[in-house]
Each structure stands twice: as structure tokens, then as C-alpha cells.
């Protein structure tokens, strides 16, 4: 095909430009733009109407003018060169190496948009991942192939927690090929270097691929960064049979960039100015997590987003919550009390928990114990609230027991060290230890058999 090059830019607005008198332009194809000073940029076709094409420029339109700028339509969609050598490397948000190393020799070139997984071809996630964090393993267990976001807010230690998960995540069945793909969208240099430093220091870097789009990089580039990272993850998971954990941070910046493009296109806005297709757009990324039949690899996603004003009903956390399989929510009040990780246990949820736990996976009593801990903590917190209003004296003996339980629970169970890696058995044991504080009659969520087996020995030990 002839290289189709045009100098017919008619209008530029925000990240978009209109190219006139085009022919044979394909929807969604990649565009190369050469500025008057020789600088090269890339973009994609957003809309075509007869002989006009609307192009979105990834690096932003500043400096583009309509005389000397040349536009070339490449004839294919944006692809990413991939190979196993990506591990241990650092790339920018467009997938180009920035660690000073040699360019990547591609095994394959993959479309960064991927394709929807056939639900028939999916394999259900059911292998428990041990993160070493009690509030996740014990109460909101994560499984391979799950997408479990962390809902955080500014000032909370979500980055430390994500790094801890990336460091410690393992399966209890044994050691297998494990990789981390890390995509940073619009985070600060300081945050990015925290991750790089942490991965380097703990030796995790050699099994990690990093894509870094910093806060001062073009916002529009952020639209492709997570897709590039997921394309790399898909290659590692389903071609190289590795178990991949993808950490995407911070989705809020991504959505802002999407809103920027939508506004530039003068689209009808949905809630809070975000485009009406935000749900679909997020879904095309989140749904790329999972397992496939007949493949041993998996993609587990941990997207991180900061809730504006700690508001869970803001469109970004809200729509994310509807797509992902649960959420881990961080609490400002626990953080203020100096508890790390400040996981807000009540509203946090892992939807796939029941698939990954139980006999042969973690332990038979896990589900009942988990439900009981939730119920007891909820009741304890309620009792504490009551005590604030009416004074301790107004509580019944049972409520007092629950109130005490909830305080100890926060201090012993939720709180743990940043480098403390608890096994699932340690976490379960801790749960039973705490339940000894509550009258047995109140343990309605646990089968009698498990009370006999796990709780009675602890109680008897106390009596002796």
C-alpha cells in the first residue's frame, strides 16, 4: 500500500485534530505525525466521515500547526512488541524502553486493545493467592484471575500496600512462574521511584515489567498505558504460561484523561462530566483479567484508584466496583490511629472468596470463621458507637465482650508490619484466638463441628 501522507490538518482542538481529503483511512488505525521540526508523534483515528478523519494525538497537540505537520496513516492499529525479555525492564507509557537498555527484540507484535475473552473459554478462578496480609487472606481472599481493586484516597498508604502484595503474593500449592506487570498512570516521580526502589531492593525487579507514565507526561498517553501493560501481561500469561499480577495505578488519572478527550469531542457527558461509555471503557481493561481453559497462566489485576473526597459513589470507584470482583477499601480513620494496612474491613469484599477457600484450598473452617469475624466485628463496632452515646455502663455483658473484641481485632488482626508475611494458617489461628473473647453461644455463623475442633481446645487451654 502507498504511504498515505497528508498535510491537510484543518482544525486542532485539545488532543484532537481533523485531517481533510483523506482516502482509505481505517477506523481506529495508527497515525504517525511528523512536526515541522522533525519531532514524531503518534495518534489514532477516532472517527471518519467520508474524506475527513478525526485523530487523537497521544502525546498532545502542542506545537502542531497546519502547514508543515505531516500526517501518515499507517494502515494498522497500535501494536506492542512483546517478548519474555520484557521482564526486569522499565518502559514509558507508550511502551518504549527508558532504562537505557537495548531496544526489545520482538517475538510478536500484539494489538494493544486485545480482544474480548470468550466467556465459554474462561476457566473459573479458584486458586487461592496468599498475600501475607490477614485482612485480605483471612477476610477477603483473592484468587488467581481475579480483579480486585484497592479503593484508596489521597494520603493513604495504598502504594506501600500494593508493593507489599507484589512482593509477597504466592500460591500455597508451591512455587510457579510468577511475574508482576506494573503500570503507572500520571503518578509522581516520587511514587514511581518508590516502587522501582522497592522492587529493586527486594529483588522483585527481575520478575517485573514496569510501564511508567508520570504526572508530567502527556495525559492522553495514559489512555494507552494500561492497555499496553495488559497486552504485555496477556503475552506473559497465556504465551509464556506465567502467573501475572497486574498493578494499575492510579485509575483516577486515567479516567480524567478519558474525560478530557470526551470533552474535546463535545460528547454528551454522563455523570460528573465523565463520558457515558466510561463503564464500557473500564470494562474492556478490567475484563482482561482471568484464566483461560487449557492455559496454565493467569492474569490477576489489582487496580488502584484514589476516591475523590473519599467518596465511594463518585463515578470512578462506583463503575469500577460494578465491574471488578470486589474491592479493598482503605479507611482514613484506621490510618489516623496508626494502623497499617488500614483496610476498612466492613465494606471491603472479595466476590470470589468462596471459590478459593475451604477444604483442600485453605482450610475447611475458613468460610465460617470469616463470616463470624465479620459479624462479630460489626456488632462490636455498633456496641462501641452505643457506648459513645450512653456510656460503657449501658452495654450488656455480651456487647461489652464484642466491643472489646473489635478493639483487639483492629490492633492484632488488621494491624501488621509492612514486611510481616503471615501464612494463611497463622491468619486463621489468629482469628480463632480472638474469638475466644466471645461467648460460644453467640457464635452462630460457625458449624458446631468446627467449634468443637478449633475453638474448644483453645478454651480448655485457657481454663487449665
Amino acid at each position: 500500500m502507498l504511504p498515505r501522507e497528508y498535510r491537510t490538518i484543518s482544525s486542532i482542538s485539545g488532543p484532537l485534530m481533523m485531517v481533510e481529503k483523506t482516502s482509505d483511512v481505517r477506523f481506529d488505525e495508527l497515525v504517525e505525525i511528523t512536526l515541522g521540526n522533525g519531532e514524531k508523534r503518534r495518534g489514532r483515528v477516532l472517527e471518519i466521515e467520508k474524506d475527513r478523519a478525526l485523530v487523537q494525538v497521544f502525546e498532545g497537540t502542542s506545537g502542531i500547526e497546519n502547514e508543515d505537520t505531516k500526517v501518515r496513516f499507517v494502515g494498522k492499529v497500535l501494536t506492542l512488541p512483546v517478548s519474555k525479555d520484557m521482564l526486569g525492564r522499565v518502559f514509558n507509557g507508550r511502551g518504549e524502553p527508558i532504562d537505557g537498555g537495548a531496544p526489545l527484540i520482538a517475538e510478536q507484535n500484539l494489538d494493544i486493545n486485545g480482544m474480548p475473552m470468550n466467556p465459554f473459554s474462561r476457566d473459573f478462578p479458584s486458586e487461592f493467592i496468599q498475600t501475607g496480609i490477614s485482612t485480605i487472606d483471612g477476610l477477603n481472599p483473592m484468587v488467581r484471575g481475579q480483579k480486585l481493586p484497592i479503593f484508596s484516597a489521597s494520603g493513604l498508604p495504598h502504594n506501600r500496600m500494593a508493593a507489599q502484595i507484589a512482593r509477597q503474593a504466592t500460591v500455597i500449592s508451591g512455587h510457579e512462574d510468577f511475574a508482576v506487570v506494573f503500570a503507572a498512570m500520571g503518578i509522581t516521580f516520587e511514587e514511581a521511584s518508590f516502587f522501582m526502589e522497592d522492587f529493586r531492593r527486594t529483588g522483585a525487579l527481575q520478575r517485573t515489567v514496569l510501564y511508567i507514565n508520570l504526572a508530567d507526561d502527556p495525559a492522553i498517553e495514559r489512555i494507552s498505558t494500561p492497555r499496553i501493560a495488559l497486552t504485555a501481561a496477556e503475552y506473559l500469561a497465556f504465551e509464556c504460561n506465567m502467573h501475572v499480577v497486574v498493578i494499575l495505578t492510579d485509575l483516577t488519572n486515567y479516567c480524567e484523561a478519558l474525560r478530557e478527550i470526551s470533552a474535546a469531542r463535545k460528547e454528551v457527558p454522563g455523570r460528573r462530566g465523565y463520558p457515558g461509555y466510561l463503564y464500557t471503557d473500564l470494562a474492556t481493561m478490567y475484563e482482561r483479567a482471568g484464566r483461560l481453559k487449557g492455559k496454565s497462566g493467569s492474569i490477576t489485576q489489582i487496580p488502584i484508584l484514589t476516591m475523590p473526597e473519599d467518596d465511594k459513589t463518585h463515578p470512578i470507584p462506583d463503575l469500577t466496583g460494578y465491574i471488578t470482583e470486589g474491592q479493598i477499601i482503605l479507611s482514613r480513620s484506621l490510618h489516623r490511629q496508626g494502623i497499617y494496612p488500614p483496610v476498612d474491613v466492613m465494606p471491603s469484599l472479595s466476590r470470589l472468596k468462596d471459590k478459593g477457600i475451604g477444604k483442600d484450598k485453605t482450610r475447611e473452617d475458613h468460610a465460617d470463621l470469616m463470616n463470624q469475624l465479620f459479624a462479630a466485628y460489626a456488632r462490636g463496632k455498633e456496641a462501641k458507637e452505643l457506648a459513645v452515646i450512653l456510656g460503657e455502663g449501658a452495654l450488656s455483658d455480651e456487647d461489652k465482650a464484642f466491643a472489646k473484641f473489635s478493639s483487639v481485632f483492629e490492633d492484632k488482626y488488621i494491624r501488621q508490619g509492612e514486611y510481616e508475611n503471615r501464612t494463611i494458617h497463622e491468619t486463621l489461628q489468629l482469628g480463632w484466638d480472638l474469638l475466644t473473647m466471645i461467648p460460644v453461644k453467640e457464635l452462630k455463623r460457625i458449624r458446631d463441628a468446627y467449634i468443637e475442633k478449633y475453638l474448644k481446645p483453645l478454651l480448655n487451654k485457657g481454663d487449665a
Partner: protein, 597 residues
């Protein structure tokens, strides 16, 4: 039938899933078109002069202006015939298993054309009419055994009547002619495979009032907020409140002969879960795997958005087809909000004037016409068979805010509202249906049915239990202000019973092998026992029984464990009545009388 005409045009504009084609004179609204060299499937949404706006059911990347667009002159239709049950379709009725085979990949590639119903499989056709019989549309010509539990009834197609002039018993494919009907000289060949446009409701003879319950095995639903056969219900709730688990529970345990489950813009893993779980689970009515009476339609959130819009219509048309055979069908749609969002997205691309929150102005009418396709009715045919479609739609209101347009428009047309409550979900009270704000407009209509079954005790039990829960909510306000000690002994009893109702009756563990399903008999016995204890307890308190002892009687633990009794052992619940009496008598002080309170 009108002649099918083929119209050829070319692509002029592409914007996401919307394509505008020129040169389309004569194309009609809602006709199916094939777009571009890949032959992507689409549907005409708008006709303006020779231009047609088309929503494309597949990813449009790579399309180019000038590529051909071909209209087949036929509206979007589904294929009907044996082989639908146990299938797993996408939004436009393509079997996902065949897509996997055709694409040779785990991903859905584009332009794949696979038949909805297997053309090569032979079914054993058993005629129910003989040559010379007069038949009208809807009459059953014969049956094939589709699965162990579903007998597929082949009906005379709509608009056909006459004398049967030929009928073929034996093994046939769906495309073989199995009968010929002679209408005064006009011969009509009937095949097992029939087609129906998805946006057109299938006609029925007569509609019936919804006064037969559809039990679901879920206590809070069956006892307090029941749904009738042919009814409509909606489950709005914020994320994490257990919407999908409730939908799955209904699909598993609802007393319907056929289940159509449509995952509309939801998670891929959830559909896989259903797909893997249903063949393993046994249906309590038939003892056979649930999959043997289920058909699944999946258009997950990452699949093309336009097909999501079509998926609910595909689902309800399949449901109507089985209803016409005389079955009770339950249709679960998860989630109608995603469907509405697909409408909004297409509307935006068509540059229509937006209504509330960017949704098109016709959102309400679309929702209403979808829910109106539910109902219990006498279907077409001389026999006067009864069939029903019960629709249960999940709604995902953004931020859990029920004032948003999709929820409000849905509430206007559905008769049951199961309001999911995030706070209940945090406390791990599942199903998280809030008993204070949910409602069912069928309750009064269905009470007589259960009263007849349970010796006229049902209505009074239900009303008393609900009023105890209501009183608890009010007393809780008092407790929050001045503490539990301010309550009278009677009020303390109310609080205790309401707690027992909440924890021992309303709370139900979907993942517990026994607790997951409760028959109406079991529900009645459980409710009766709890209310009995309340009466006996009040009585004892009046006779000066000590409150602490009463609340800590060992029988209460037995009440708490009623839910874990297997269906065959529920007779044991009846014995609790005596145990309650005995133990309460044990704590009433000798000589205590009602004046002593």
C-alpha cells in the same frame, strides 16, 4: 411473507459502534445488515433519505469508508427449535462454544457466522396430530425430547392454519419438513426450525391475573415479598450488596420449568461460574442438573456494546417461545442498567437530544415494553395451555442512588421491589434485602393461596412477623437515644423476637448446602416456631419469669439451628413447640400470675 430484498450501500461515516451508510434507499428500520468486507452484523437504527444509521454488534476497528453494506431485508431474529436449552449464547444468539471453534481462539474474533441451532443433529420427532386433523397456529404438532427434563413441543407457526396433510414421525434434523399443512389448497411446510423477530412480542390468546406464587426457596422473598408466576420484579442495589448472588439463587431454586439467564454487560467470570456450576447442581423439582432446563445468554461488559442492547430482546423472545409451549419460564436479567447504558451510548452517537442524565427520552417506554412481555397467559392453540414468563431484572444504580432514571423507570413498571441495602451487606446479612423498604404488590393476591395450604394461619403469621420487625426499627431509635434498659419487658421481648426473625429466618446463607434452599413448608414451620416462642415468652414475662433466663433458654439455640435441618427432617421443627412450652414452664415461678409484671 414479503419477498426478501437485498439492498447494497457503502460506508460513509464510522464512529465507534455506529456506522452511517449511504445508498440505502428502500432499507427499513431494524433490518439486519452486514457491514464491510468482514461482514460484521448490525441493525438499522435510523433512516434518513438514502442514509441509514447502523448499530454494529461487533468491534468496528479497521473499517473504512467505501466498504460495502448489505441489508438482508429482514429484522433481527432468533432461531427457534430444539437445541436452545443447555446452550450458551452471545447477545445475538451465536453459540459461544461454536464461536470458540470457528475462531480457533479463546478470544472472540469478528465476522464469525455460526448457526444458533445445530443443523446436523437429529431429533426423534413424535407426532401428536394425525393426517386430516384441523390445526390452528399454536397447536402442538408433535414433540421431541430436548433434554431429560424438557419436552420440546413443535407448534404450528404463527399465521398458519389448515388440515394436516402430511406428518413425519422419526429422526429428523431441524431443517427437515416434518409436517405439511393444507389451508384450502395453499400448502405450508413446517420445519422444527422457526424464526421470530426479537423486537416483536409473540402473541398470546388471553392474559391471566398473577395469583399463583412462584417460590424461590429464599425465605425473605417467599414469605414477605413474594413474586407471582408471570410477575415482574426488580432488584436494585449498589455494588457488593449481593445482586448477582440473588439472581443466581433465583435461577437455581425458582419454581420454574425453564430458566433463561441473561448476563447483560456483566462480568465474564460470573457467566463462567454459572456455566460451570449449573451442570453440577441438582434441581430440587426434577433431581436433574439445573442446566437441563436452562439457557444462558452472555454479553459480558467487554463484548461489543450494541449486542448488549440486543441481548435482553433475544432472551425474552426465547422465553416467549417456551411459554408458548405451555411452560412457566423465569427470566433473569443481570443487569438492565447496562442495557440502558448501551441505549444511552447509541443515542449519544446518533446525536439525539438527551433526556435525564444523558439517557434517551424513550428509556421509560423501552423498559416498560420489555417488562410488559412478562405475564401469565393462555397461549395460542385450541388446547388452551397455560404458560408464563416471570421477569426478574437487576438494576445497578450508580452510587446506590435509587433516584436515577433507570431505577425510577423500572419501579414504575415492576410490581416487586427488593431493595438491597449496603449496610446489611457490610454486616454480612444476606440476602441483603431491606425488609423495611422492599415491597411486593402480589402479597395480598397470593395470601389466599398459602392460607389454603396452611390452614388459614399464613396471613396472620406473616403480618405479625412483619409488624414485629417494624416495631424493632422504632424501638431501635429509642435504644439509640436512651439505652436498652429504658424499654419495658414486653418491648424487650419484641426486640429479642425481631432479632431472632432477622438472624434465624431472614438471614440465609446461599453457600451453605442446606440453608441455600427452604421449601414453603419449612418456611412456614420456622416462622410459626419463632412467633410461638414470642407468644409463650410474653406470657411467661407476664407471669413474672426472669427475662435473662427466658432469653437464654436452650431451646433458642435449637430455633437458631432450624435452618440447617434437611427438608426430610423438618418434622422436628413441630416438636419444638412442646420443648418451648416445657422449658418456659420450667422458669415461670410457682404461683406467678399475670398481675405480677
Amino acid at each position: 411473507m414479503p419477498e426478501k430484498k437485498e439492498i447494497k450501500g457503502v460506508i460513509e461515516r464510522i464512529s465507534g459502534s455506529l456506522v452511517v451508510a449511504g445508498g440505502m434507499e428502500g432499507a427499513s428500520m431494524q433490518d439486519v445488515v452486514h457491514i464491510g468486507e468482514l461482514g460484521l452484523v448490525g441493525e438499522i437504527l435510523e433512516v434518513n433519505g438514502d442514509k441509514a444509521s447502523i448499530q454494529v454488534y461487533e468491534e468496528t476497528s479497521g473499517l473504512m469508508p467505501g466498504e460495502p453494506v448489505v441489508s438482508m431485508g429482514e429484522p433481527l431474529s432468533v432461531e427457534l427449535g430444539p437445541g436452545i436449552i443447555e446452550q450458551f449464547y452471545d447477545g445475538i444468539q451465536r453459540p459461544l462454544e461454536l464461536i470458540e471453534k470457528a475462531a480457533k481462539s479463546h478470544y472472540i474474533s469478528r465476522g464469525i457466522s455460526v448457526p444458533a441451532i445445530d443443523r446436523s443433529k437429529k431429533w426423534n420427532f413424535n407426532p401428536k396430530v394425525k393426517v386430516g386433523d384441523d390445526v390452528i397456529a399454536g397447536d402442538i404438532l408433535g414433540v421431541v425430547q430436548e433434554t431429560v427434563v424438557v419436552e420440546h413441543r413443535i407448534m404450528v407457526p404463527y399465521g398458519v392454519k389448515g388440515k394436516v396433510s402430511k406428518i413425519e414421525k422419526g429422526d429428523h434434523t431441524v431443517e427437515d419438513v416434518i409436517a405439511v399443512i393444507d389451508d384450502n389448497g395453499t400448502k405450508y411446510e413446517v420445519k422444527m426450525l422457526q424464526r421470530w423477530p426479537v423486537r416483536k412480542p409473540r402473541p398470546v390468546a388471553r392474559r391471566l391475573p398473577p395469583n399463583v406464587p412462584m417460590t424461590t426457596g429464599q425465605r425473605v422473598v417467599d414469605a414477605f415479598f413474594p413474586v407471582a408466576l408471570g410477575g415482574t420484579a426488580c432488584v436494585p442495589g449498589p455494588f457488593g450488596s449481593g445482586k448477582t448472588v440473588i439472581q443466581h439463587q433465583f435461577a437455581k431454586w425458582a419454581q420454574a420449568q425453564i430458566v433463561v439467564y441473561v448476563g447483560c454487560g456483566e462480568r465474564g467470570n460470573e457467566m463462567t461460574d454459572v456455566l460451570l456450576e449449573f451442570p453440577e447442581l441438582d434441581d430440587p423439582q426434577t433431581g436433574q442438573p439445573l442446566m437441563k432446563r436452562t439457557t444462558l445468554i452472555a454479553n459480558t461488559s467487554n463484548m461489543p456494546v450494541a449486542a448488549r442492547e440486543a441481548s435482553v430482546y433475544t432472551a425474552i423472545t426465547l422465553a416467549e417461545y417456551y411459554r408458548d409451549m405451555g411452560y412457566s419460564v423465569a427470566l433473569m436479567a443481570d443487569s438492565t442498567s447496562r442495557w440502558a447504558e448501551a441505549l444511552r451510548e447509541m443515542s449519544g452517537r446518533l446525536e439525539e437530544m438527551p433526556g435525564e442524565e444523558g439517557y434517551p427520552a424513550y428509556l421509560g417506554t423501552r423498559l416498560a415494553s420489555f417488562y410488559e412481555r412478562a405475564g401469565r397467559c393462555i397461549v395460542n392453540g385450541k388446547e388452551g395451555r397455560e404458560g408464563s414468563i416471570t421477569v426478574i431484572g437487576a438494576v445497578s444504580p450508580p452510587g446506590g442512588d435509587l433516584s436515577e432514571p433507570v431505577t425510577q423507570n423500572t419501579l414504575r413498571v415492576t410490581k416487586v421491589f427488593w431493595g438491597l441495602d449496603a449496610n446489611l451487606a457490610y454486616q454480612r446479612h444476606f440476602p441483603a434485602i431491606n425488609w423495611l423498604n422492599s415491597y411486593s404488590l402480589y402479597t395480598e393476591r397470593l395470601d389466599p393461596y398459602w392460607d389454603e395450604k396452611f390452614d388459614d394461619q399464613w396471613t396472620s403469621l406473616r403480618v405479625e412477623a412483619m409488624s414485629l420487625l417494624e416495631q424493632e426499627a422504632q424501638l431501635n431509635e429509642v435504644v439509640r437515644l436512651v439505652g436498652i434498659d429504658a424499654l419495658s419487658r414486653d418491648e424487650r421481648m419484641v426486640m429479642e423476637t425481631a432479632k431472632s426473625l432477622r438472624e434465624d429466618f431472614l438471614h440465609q446463607n446461599a453457600f451453605h448446602e442446606i440453608d441455600t434452599y427452604a421449601s414453603m413448608d419449612k418456611q412456614f414451620k420456622m416462622l410459626k416456631t419463632i412467633v410461638n416462642f414470642h407468644h409463650a415468652g410474653l406470657d411467661a414475662l407476664h407471669k413474672n419469669a426472669p427475662m435473662n433466663k427466658l432469653f437464654n433458654l436452650p431451646v433458642r439455640e435449637q430455633i437458631a439451628r432450624m435452618r440447617y435441618l434437611e427438608e426430610k427432617d423438618i418434622g422436628q421443627i413441630d416438636k419444638l413447640e412442646d420443648t418451648i412450652k416445657e422449658q418456659i414452664n420450667g422458669i415461670v415461678p410457682v404461683g406467678g400470675d399475670s398481675n405480677a409484671a
